[in-house]
Protein backbone atom coordinates (compact mmCIF):
# COMPACT_ATOMS: atom_id res chain seq x y z
CA UNK A 1 0.00 0.00 0.00
CA UNK A 2 2.61 2.57 1.07
CA UNK A 3 5.61 2.75 -1.33
CA UNK A 4 8.85 1.74 0.35
CA UNK A 5 10.89 4.48 -1.34
CA UNK A 6 8.68 7.32 -0.04
CA UNK A 7 9.00 9.14 3.28
CA UNK A 8 5.95 10.16 5.36
CA UNK A 9 4.79 12.84 7.82
CA UNK A 10 2.46 12.69 10.81
CA UNK A 11 0.13 15.04 8.86
CA UNK A 12 -0.17 12.33 6.18
CA UNK A 13 1.92 13.80 3.38
CA UNK A 14 4.47 11.76 1.43
CA UNK A 15 7.66 12.82 -0.34
CA UNK A 16 9.65 10.94 -2.95
CA UNK A 17 13.19 12.20 -3.26
CA UNK A 18 14.83 12.05 -6.67
CA UNK A 19 18.29 13.61 -6.54
CA UNK A 20 17.97 17.34 -5.98
CA UNK A 21 14.17 17.32 -6.25
CA UNK A 22 11.26 15.92 -4.28
CA UNK A 23 7.69 15.05 -5.29
CA UNK A 24 5.04 15.63 -2.60
CA UNK A 25 1.52 14.30 -2.18
CA UNK A 26 -0.96 13.10 0.44
CA UNK A 27 -1.31 9.50 1.56
CA UNK A 28 -4.01 6.93 0.98
CA UNK A 29 -4.91 7.28 4.68
CA UNK A 30 -5.38 11.04 4.19
CA UNK A 31 -7.64 10.66 1.13
CA UNK A 32 -9.71 8.05 2.93
CA UNK A 33 -10.19 10.35 5.92
CA UNK A 34 -11.03 13.32 3.66
CA UNK A 35 -13.58 11.47 1.54
CA UNK A 36 -14.52 12.75 -1.93
CA UNK A 37 -12.09 15.53 -2.87
CA UNK A 38 -13.65 18.39 -4.87
CA UNK A 39 -11.01 21.13 -5.00
CA UNK A 40 -7.27 21.59 -4.45
CA UNK A 41 -5.62 24.93 -3.83
CA UNK A 42 -1.95 24.96 -4.89
CA UNK A 43 1.01 27.28 -4.28
CA UNK A 44 2.60 29.26 -7.10
CA UNK A 45 5.67 27.92 -8.87
CA UNK A 46 8.66 29.69 -7.32
CA UNK A 47 7.18 29.77 -3.82
CA UNK A 48 9.74 29.14 -1.08
CA UNK A 49 8.47 26.60 1.44
CA UNK A 50 9.76 25.91 4.92
CA UNK A 51 9.41 22.48 6.42
CA UNK A 52 5.97 21.98 7.99
CA UNK A 53 4.68 25.14 6.30
CA UNK A 54 1.14 25.03 4.89
CA UNK A 55 1.33 25.27 1.09
CA UNK A 56 -2.25 24.65 0.07
CA UNK A 57 -5.64 23.19 0.94
CA UNK A 58 -7.65 20.18 -0.08
CA UNK A 59 -11.42 20.57 0.01
CA UNK A 60 -13.53 17.46 0.25
CA UNK A 61 -17.32 17.39 0.36
CA UNK A 62 -17.29 17.35 4.13
CA UNK A 63 -14.24 19.39 5.15
CA UNK A 64 -11.23 21.50 4.23
CA UNK A 65 -7.70 20.45 5.20
CA UNK A 66 -4.36 22.20 4.98
CA UNK A 67 -1.41 20.50 3.33
CA UNK A 68 2.02 20.90 4.92
CA UNK A 69 5.38 20.64 3.21
CA UNK A 70 7.44 17.73 4.57
CA UNK A 71 10.69 19.60 3.81
CA UNK A 72 12.08 23.02 2.87
CA UNK A 73 12.42 23.86 -0.80
CA UNK A 74 11.27 25.87 -3.81
CA UNK A 75 8.14 24.86 -5.71
CA UNK A 76 9.20 24.03 -9.29
CA UNK A 77 6.01 22.38 -10.57
CA UNK A 78 2.39 21.84 -9.53
CA UNK A 79 0.23 19.00 -10.83
CA UNK A 80 -1.94 20.45 -13.61
CA UNK A 81 -4.23 17.40 -13.69
CA UNK A 82 -5.78 18.22 -10.31
CA UNK A 83 -7.46 21.46 -11.43
CA UNK A 84 -10.02 19.57 -13.52
CA UNK A 85 -9.85 16.21 -11.77
CA UNK A 86 -9.37 16.72 -8.02
CA UNK A 87 -10.94 13.26 -7.49
CA UNK A 88 -7.60 11.80 -8.66
CA UNK A 89 -6.52 12.29 -5.05
CA UNK A 90 -9.03 9.63 -4.03
CA UNK A 91 -8.13 7.31 -6.89
CA UNK A 92 -4.34 7.49 -7.10
CA UNK A 93 -2.95 9.39 -4.10
CA UNK A 94 0.55 7.90 -4.28
CA UNK A 95 0.95 8.30 -8.06
CA UNK A 96 -1.00 10.41 -10.54
CA UNK A 97 -2.29 12.73 -7.82
CA UNK A 98 1.07 14.11 -6.71
CA UNK A 99 0.62 17.74 -5.67
CA UNK A 100 3.90 19.61 -6.14
CA UNK A 101 7.56 19.12 -7.00
CA UNK A 102 10.18 21.04 -5.04
CA UNK A 103 13.89 21.74 -5.40
CA UNK A 104 15.15 20.52 -2.04
CA UNK A 105 16.91 22.99 0.25
CA UNK A 106 18.64 20.03 1.88
CA UNK A 107 18.83 16.68 0.12
CA UNK A 108 19.13 14.81 3.40
CA UNK A 109 16.20 16.47 5.18
CA UNK A 110 13.60 13.90 4.07
CA UNK A 111 15.57 10.97 5.47
CA UNK A 112 14.61 12.12 8.98
CA UNK A 113 10.92 11.47 8.18
CA UNK A 114 9.09 8.17 8.75
CA UNK A 115 9.68 5.32 6.33
CA UNK A 116 6.78 3.18 5.11
CA UNK A 117 6.96 0.72 8.02
CA UNK A 118 7.04 3.48 10.63
CA UNK A 119 4.14 5.31 8.92
CA UNK A 120 2.02 2.16 8.78
CA UNK A 121 2.60 1.62 12.50
CA UNK A 122 1.71 5.28 13.10
CA UNK A 123 -1.63 5.12 11.25
CA UNK A 124 -2.49 1.81 12.91
CA UNK A 125 -2.19 3.71 16.20
CA UNK A 126 -4.37 6.55 14.87
CA UNK A 127 -7.06 4.10 13.79
CA UNK A 128 -7.08 2.65 17.29
CA UNK A 129 -7.51 6.12 18.80
CA UNK A 130 -10.45 6.73 16.44
CA UNK A 131 -12.29 3.60 17.44
CA UNK A 132 -11.63 4.15 21.16
Amino acid sequence: MYPKDYRYTKEHEWIKVDGANGTIGVTHYAQHELGDVVFVEMPKVGAQLKARQSFGTIESVKAVSEIFSPVAGEVIETNPALADAPELINKDPHGGAWLIKVRLADRKEASALMDAAAYEAYIAGQAKEHSA
Binding site: G35, V38, F39, E59, V61
Partner: protein, 345 residues
Protein backbone atom coordinates in the same frame (compact mmCIF):
# COMPACT_ATOMS: atom_id res chain seq x y z
CA UNK B 1 -18.36 6.59 12.27
CA UNK B 2 -19.13 9.85 14.03
CA UNK B 3 -20.92 10.77 17.23
CA UNK B 4 -24.16 12.57 16.42
CA UNK B 5 -26.44 13.58 19.28
CA UNK B 6 -25.10 10.66 21.30
CA UNK B 7 -25.49 8.14 18.45
CA UNK B 8 -22.63 6.42 16.62
CA UNK B 9 -23.51 6.93 12.98
CA UNK B 10 -21.74 6.37 9.66
CA UNK B 11 -20.80 9.59 7.89
CA UNK B 12 -20.65 7.64 4.65
CA UNK B 13 -20.85 4.09 3.31
CA UNK B 14 -19.51 4.16 -0.28
CA UNK B 15 -18.83 7.92 -0.41
CA UNK B 16 -20.91 11.08 -0.08
CA UNK B 17 -20.90 11.86 -3.83
CA UNK B 18 -22.00 8.36 -4.86
CA UNK B 19 -24.69 8.26 -2.18
CA UNK B 20 -25.98 11.73 -3.09
CA UNK B 21 -26.17 10.77 -6.77
CA UNK B 22 -28.01 7.55 -5.90
CA UNK B 23 -30.75 9.44 -4.04
CA UNK B 24 -31.20 12.03 -6.83
CA UNK B 25 -31.32 9.48 -9.65
CA UNK B 26 -32.28 6.10 -8.11
CA UNK B 27 -32.73 5.57 -4.37
CA UNK B 28 -30.94 5.66 -1.04
CA UNK B 29 -31.65 4.06 2.33
CA UNK B 30 -30.91 5.96 5.55
CA UNK B 31 -30.94 4.59 9.08
CA UNK B 32 -32.44 7.57 10.91
CA UNK B 33 -33.27 5.72 14.11
CA UNK B 34 -31.53 8.50 16.01
CA UNK B 35 -34.52 10.76 15.35
CA UNK B 36 -36.72 11.20 18.42
CA UNK B 37 -40.43 10.51 18.73
CA UNK B 38 -42.78 12.13 21.22
CA UNK B 39 -46.40 10.99 21.43
CA UNK B 40 -49.18 13.14 22.81
CA UNK B 41 -52.50 11.52 23.69
CA UNK B 42 -55.82 12.42 25.25
CA UNK B 43 -58.64 14.93 24.79
CA UNK B 44 -56.16 17.75 25.47
CA UNK B 45 -53.61 16.56 22.89
CA UNK B 46 -54.51 19.06 20.18
CA UNK B 47 -54.55 21.96 22.64
CA UNK B 48 -51.04 21.11 23.78
CA UNK B 49 -49.69 20.68 20.25
CA UNK B 50 -51.27 23.99 19.27
CA UNK B 51 -49.73 25.81 22.23
CA UNK B 52 -46.14 24.62 21.76
CA UNK B 53 -45.87 24.57 17.95
CA UNK B 54 -46.28 27.32 15.35
CA UNK B 55 -48.02 25.48 12.49
CA UNK B 56 -51.77 24.94 12.70
CA UNK B 57 -52.33 21.31 13.72
CA UNK B 58 -56.11 21.88 13.76
CA UNK B 59 -55.91 21.84 9.95
CA UNK B 60 -54.37 18.35 9.84
CA UNK B 61 -56.57 15.54 8.55
CA UNK B 62 -56.30 12.03 10.00
CA UNK B 63 -53.21 10.47 8.47
CA UNK B 64 -51.69 13.80 7.55
CA UNK B 65 -48.37 15.26 8.72
CA UNK B 66 -46.80 18.70 8.58
CA UNK B 67 -43.51 20.45 9.25
CA UNK B 68 -43.58 22.77 12.23
CA UNK B 69 -41.52 24.50 14.90
CA UNK B 70 -41.48 23.83 18.62
CA UNK B 71 -41.37 27.36 20.00
CA UNK B 72 -39.95 29.19 22.99
CA UNK B 73 -41.90 32.04 24.56
CA UNK B 74 -39.45 34.32 22.68
CA UNK B 75 -40.74 33.08 19.32
CA UNK B 76 -37.55 31.12 18.62
CA UNK B 77 -37.00 27.43 17.96
CA UNK B 78 -36.64 24.80 20.67
CA UNK B 79 -36.58 22.40 17.70
CA UNK B 80 -38.11 21.77 14.29
CA UNK B 81 -40.32 18.73 13.88
CA UNK B 82 -42.91 16.77 11.94
CA UNK B 83 -46.37 16.50 13.51
CA UNK B 84 -48.38 13.41 12.53
CA UNK B 85 -52.11 13.29 13.33
CA UNK B 86 -52.90 9.67 14.18
CA UNK B 87 -56.35 10.43 15.61
CA UNK B 88 -58.24 13.40 17.08
CA UNK B 89 -56.67 12.52 20.44
CA UNK B 90 -53.26 11.20 19.34
CA UNK B 91 -50.34 13.04 17.71
CA UNK B 92 -46.85 11.71 16.99
CA UNK B 93 -44.03 14.23 16.77
CA UNK B 94 -40.74 13.37 15.07
CA UNK B 95 -37.96 15.54 16.52
CA UNK B 96 -34.18 15.88 16.32
CA UNK B 97 -32.08 13.34 18.20
CA UNK B 98 -30.01 15.87 20.09
CA UNK B 99 -33.09 17.82 21.22
CA UNK B 100 -35.38 14.97 22.17
CA UNK B 101 -35.03 15.26 25.95
CA UNK B 102 -35.29 19.04 26.09
CA UNK B 103 -38.26 18.93 23.68
CA UNK B 104 -40.00 16.46 25.97
CA UNK B 105 -39.30 18.61 29.05
CA UNK B 106 -40.50 21.72 27.24
CA UNK B 107 -43.77 20.09 26.18
CA UNK B 108 -44.40 18.64 29.65
CA UNK B 109 -43.78 22.06 31.24
CA UNK B 110 -46.55 23.57 29.13
CA UNK B 111 -48.96 20.68 29.54
CA UNK B 112 -51.88 22.42 31.21
CA UNK B 113 -54.21 20.29 29.08
CA UNK B 114 -53.87 17.06 31.07
CA UNK B 115 -52.54 15.34 27.95
CA UNK B 116 -50.35 12.25 28.18
CA UNK B 117 -46.88 13.04 26.87
CA UNK B 118 -44.56 10.13 26.11
CA UNK B 119 -40.88 10.31 25.21
CA UNK B 120 -41.28 7.43 22.76
CA UNK B 121 -37.89 7.42 21.04
CA UNK B 122 -36.79 4.08 22.48
CA UNK B 123 -39.91 2.40 21.07
CA UNK B 124 -39.07 3.32 17.48
CA UNK B 125 -36.47 2.77 14.85
CA UNK B 126 -36.79 4.74 11.64
CA UNK B 127 -35.59 4.09 8.11
CA UNK B 128 -35.87 6.62 5.29
CA UNK B 129 -36.00 5.35 1.73
CA UNK B 130 -35.64 8.29 -0.64
CA UNK B 131 -35.32 8.88 -4.37
CA UNK B 132 -37.28 8.44 -7.60
CA UNK B 133 -37.24 4.62 -7.25
CA UNK B 134 -38.06 4.57 -3.52
CA UNK B 135 -41.77 3.91 -4.03
CA UNK B 136 -41.25 0.96 -6.37
CA UNK B 137 -38.64 -0.61 -4.08
CA UNK B 138 -40.76 -0.28 -0.94
CA UNK B 139 -43.85 -1.49 -2.82
CA UNK B 140 -42.19 -4.88 -3.29
CA UNK B 141 -42.24 -5.36 0.50
CA UNK B 142 -45.67 -4.02 1.44
CA UNK B 143 -49.34 -4.73 0.60
CA UNK B 144 -50.10 -1.04 1.26
CA UNK B 145 -50.88 0.76 -2.01
CA UNK B 146 -48.14 3.37 -1.76
CA UNK B 147 -49.60 5.42 -4.61
CA UNK B 148 -52.56 6.12 -2.34
CA UNK B 149 -50.36 7.82 0.27
CA UNK B 150 -50.09 11.46 -0.78
CA UNK B 151 -47.08 13.64 0.01
CA UNK B 152 -46.97 14.46 3.73
CA UNK B 153 -49.53 11.78 4.55
CA UNK B 154 -49.04 8.43 6.26
CA UNK B 155 -50.72 5.15 6.99
CA UNK B 156 -50.21 2.06 9.11
CA UNK B 157 -49.35 -1.21 7.43
CA UNK B 158 -46.89 -4.02 7.13
CA UNK B 159 -43.56 -3.83 5.38
CA UNK B 160 -41.65 -7.07 5.19
CA UNK B 161 -44.22 -8.46 7.64
CA UNK B 162 -43.35 -5.79 10.22
CA UNK B 163 -45.97 -3.38 11.63
CA UNK B 164 -44.99 0.13 10.47
CA UNK B 165 -46.10 3.69 10.27
CA UNK B 166 -45.32 4.52 6.65
CA UNK B 167 -45.09 8.27 5.93
CA UNK B 168 -44.47 9.90 2.57
CA UNK B 169 -42.03 12.41 4.00
CA UNK B 170 -38.29 13.04 3.80
CA UNK B 171 -35.32 15.33 4.18
CA UNK B 172 -33.68 15.01 0.77
CA UNK B 173 -35.81 16.96 -1.71
CA UNK B 174 -36.87 13.68 -3.36
CA UNK B 175 -40.01 11.59 -3.21
CA UNK B 176 -39.73 8.89 -0.59
CA UNK B 177 -40.91 7.38 2.66
CA UNK B 178 -39.98 7.45 6.31
CA UNK B 179 -40.89 4.22 8.10
CA UNK B 180 -41.32 3.94 11.87
CA UNK B 181 -41.37 0.55 13.61
CA UNK B 182 -40.28 -1.36 16.73
CA UNK B 183 -36.48 -1.60 17.14
CA UNK B 184 -36.34 -5.41 17.22
CA UNK B 185 -37.26 -5.48 13.51
CA UNK B 186 -34.63 -2.98 12.37
CA UNK B 187 -32.01 -5.42 11.10
CA UNK B 188 -34.60 -7.45 9.18
CA UNK B 189 -36.24 -4.44 7.56
CA UNK B 190 -32.89 -2.87 6.65
CA UNK B 191 -31.73 -6.16 5.13
CA UNK B 192 -34.93 -6.77 3.18
CA UNK B 193 -35.00 -3.19 1.85
CA UNK B 194 -31.35 -3.38 0.80
CA UNK B 195 -32.05 -6.64 -0.99
CA UNK B 196 -35.14 -5.23 -2.74
CA UNK B 197 -33.32 -2.03 -3.67
CA UNK B 198 -29.97 -3.42 -4.73
CA UNK B 199 -31.02 -4.34 -8.28
CA UNK B 200 -32.54 -0.83 -8.65
CA UNK B 201 -29.23 0.78 -7.75
CA UNK B 202 -30.18 1.82 -4.23
CA UNK B 203 -27.27 2.63 -1.91
CA UNK B 204 -27.09 2.83 1.88
CA UNK B 205 -26.52 6.48 2.78
CA UNK B 206 -24.87 8.14 5.78
CA UNK B 207 -25.06 11.48 7.54
CA UNK B 208 -22.78 13.12 4.97
CA UNK B 209 -25.19 12.64 2.08
CA UNK B 210 -28.15 13.41 4.35
CA UNK B 211 -26.58 16.84 4.88
CA UNK B 212 -25.62 17.57 1.25
CA UNK B 213 -29.08 16.47 0.07
CA UNK B 214 -31.00 18.62 2.55
CA UNK B 215 -28.73 21.60 1.85
CA UNK B 216 -29.27 21.30 -1.91
CA UNK B 217 -33.02 21.13 -1.20
CA UNK B 218 -32.70 24.32 0.90
CA UNK B 219 -33.95 22.68 4.09
CA UNK B 220 -33.03 23.96 7.54
CA UNK B 221 -30.91 21.99 10.01
CA UNK B 222 -31.34 22.68 13.71
CA UNK B 223 -28.17 24.17 15.18
CA UNK B 224 -27.29 25.68 11.79
CA UNK B 225 -30.11 27.67 10.17
CA UNK B 226 -32.39 27.58 13.19
CA UNK B 227 -31.91 27.51 16.95
CA UNK B 228 -33.27 29.20 20.07
CA UNK B 229 -32.09 32.61 18.82
CA UNK B 230 -33.78 32.53 15.39
CA UNK B 231 -37.45 33.10 14.54
CA UNK B 232 -39.47 31.55 11.71
CA UNK B 233 -39.64 34.91 9.92
CA UNK B 234 -35.84 35.22 9.90
CA UNK B 235 -35.38 31.64 8.72
CA UNK B 236 -37.78 32.01 5.77
CA UNK B 237 -40.19 29.65 7.51
CA UNK B 238 -43.15 32.00 7.61
CA UNK B 239 -45.13 29.29 5.81
CA UNK B 240 -45.12 27.12 8.96
CA UNK B 241 -46.00 30.01 11.27
CA UNK B 242 -49.78 30.43 11.37
CA UNK B 243 -50.59 33.62 13.26
CA UNK B 244 -54.36 33.10 12.83
CA UNK B 245 -54.25 30.28 15.40
CA UNK B 246 -52.58 32.48 18.06
CA UNK B 247 -52.02 32.55 20.95
CA UNK B 248 -49.19 30.00 20.98
CA UNK B 249 -45.78 30.15 22.62
CA UNK B 250 -43.97 33.19 21.28
CA UNK B 251 -46.85 34.37 19.08
CA UNK B 252 -46.87 37.84 20.70
CA UNK B 253 -43.14 38.27 20.01
CA UNK B 254 -43.60 36.99 16.47
CA UNK B 255 -46.48 39.41 15.85
CA UNK B 256 -44.31 42.24 17.14
CA UNK B 257 -41.37 41.20 14.94
CA UNK B 258 -43.66 41.06 11.93
CA UNK B 259 -44.73 44.66 12.62
CA UNK B 260 -41.21 45.92 13.40
CA UNK B 261 -39.47 44.21 10.51
CA UNK B 262 -36.44 41.93 10.53
CA UNK B 263 -32.80 42.69 11.26
CA UNK B 264 -31.58 39.59 9.42
CA UNK B 265 -32.81 37.08 6.89
CA UNK B 266 -31.69 33.65 5.79
CA UNK B 267 -30.54 33.58 2.15
CA UNK B 268 -29.14 31.01 -0.25
CA UNK B 269 -25.91 31.75 -2.10
CA UNK B 270 -23.73 30.26 -4.82
CA UNK B 271 -19.96 30.75 -4.86
CA UNK B 272 -18.90 32.35 -8.12
CA UNK B 273 -15.41 30.82 -8.03
CA UNK B 274 -14.12 27.43 -6.93
CA UNK B 275 -13.50 28.12 -3.26
CA UNK B 276 -16.10 26.91 -0.81
CA UNK B 277 -17.87 29.00 1.83
CA UNK B 278 -18.43 26.67 4.76
CA UNK B 279 -20.36 26.62 8.05
CA UNK B 280 -19.36 29.51 10.29
CA UNK B 281 -17.47 31.58 7.70
CA UNK B 282 -18.17 35.34 7.90
CA UNK B 283 -20.28 37.27 5.39
CA UNK B 284 -18.55 40.59 4.66
CA UNK B 285 -19.92 43.84 3.29
CA UNK B 286 -17.36 46.60 2.81
CA UNK B 287 -14.88 44.47 4.76
CA UNK B 288 -17.18 44.36 7.80
CA UNK B 289 -18.77 41.18 9.09
CA UNK B 290 -22.56 41.39 8.72
CA UNK B 291 -23.47 37.72 9.15
CA UNK B 292 -22.34 34.11 9.10
CA UNK B 293 -22.69 31.12 6.83
CA UNK B 294 -25.03 28.64 8.55
CA UNK B 295 -24.35 25.71 6.19
CA UNK B 296 -22.09 25.68 3.16
CA UNK B 297 -20.44 23.17 0.90
CA UNK B 298 -20.51 21.45 -2.45
CA UNK B 299 -23.89 20.75 -4.06
CA UNK B 300 -22.96 17.47 -5.75
CA UNK B 301 -25.95 17.22 -8.07
CA UNK B 302 -25.93 20.89 -9.12
CA UNK B 303 -22.12 20.88 -9.37
CA UNK B 304 -21.89 24.21 -7.61
CA UNK B 305 -20.70 25.35 -4.22
CA UNK B 306 -23.67 26.62 -2.27
CA UNK B 307 -24.65 27.70 1.18
CA UNK B 308 -27.11 29.52 3.39
CA UNK B 309 -26.32 32.55 5.53
CA UNK B 310 -27.96 35.19 7.68
CA UNK B 311 -27.56 38.70 6.26
CA UNK B 312 -29.19 42.09 6.93
CA UNK B 313 -32.40 42.44 4.84
CA UNK B 314 -30.87 45.16 2.66
CA UNK B 315 -28.34 42.60 1.36
CA UNK B 316 -30.80 39.74 0.93
CA UNK B 317 -32.12 40.35 -2.58
CA UNK B 318 -31.73 37.57 -5.13
CA UNK B 319 -29.05 38.51 -7.65
CA UNK B 320 -27.02 40.60 -5.20
CA UNK B 321 -23.38 39.72 -4.60
CA UNK B 322 -21.99 39.26 -1.11
CA UNK B 323 -18.48 38.39 0.04
CA UNK B 324 -17.62 35.31 2.07
CA UNK B 325 -14.42 35.42 4.11
CA UNK B 326 -12.51 32.22 3.35
CA UNK B 327 -9.33 31.80 5.38
CA UNK B 328 -8.60 35.52 5.36
CA UNK B 329 -9.54 36.12 1.73
CA UNK B 330 -12.81 37.48 0.39
CA UNK B 331 -14.65 35.44 -2.26
CA UNK B 332 -17.74 36.61 -4.09
CA UNK B 333 -21.01 34.74 -3.77
CA UNK B 334 -24.32 35.50 -5.47
CA UNK B 335 -27.61 35.39 -3.63
CA UNK B 336 -29.97 32.91 -5.28
CA UNK B 337 -33.52 31.78 -4.67
CA UNK B 338 -34.19 28.87 -2.32
CA UNK B 339 -34.43 25.96 -2.73
CA UNK B 340 -31.31 25.42 -4.81
CA UNK B 341 -32.73 22.14 -6.10
CA UNK B 342 -36.31 21.17 -6.84
CA UNK B 343 -37.10 17.71 -8.13
CA UNK B 344 -38.74 17.40 -11.55
CA UNK B 345 -42.48 16.87 -11.08
Amino acid sequence: MVNFGGWDMPLEYSGILAEHEAVRTRAGLFDVSHMGEIEIRGPGALGLVQLVSCNNAAKLALGQAHYSGLMTSRGTFVDDLLVHKISDTHYMLCVNAGNQDQDYQHIVEHNKFDAQVENAGPRYCQLAIQGPRAKDILQRLTPVALDSIRYYHFTFGKASGVDCLIARTGYTGEDGFEIYFAPEHAAKLWGDLMQAGGPAGMLPCGLGARNTLRLEAGMCLYGHEIDDTTTPWEAGLGWICKMEKAPFLGSDVLAQQKRDGLTRKLVGFEMLDKRIGRDGYPVLIGGKEVGRVTSGGPAPFLRKNIGMAYVPPEFSTVGMDIVIGIRGQGETARIVALPFYKRPQ
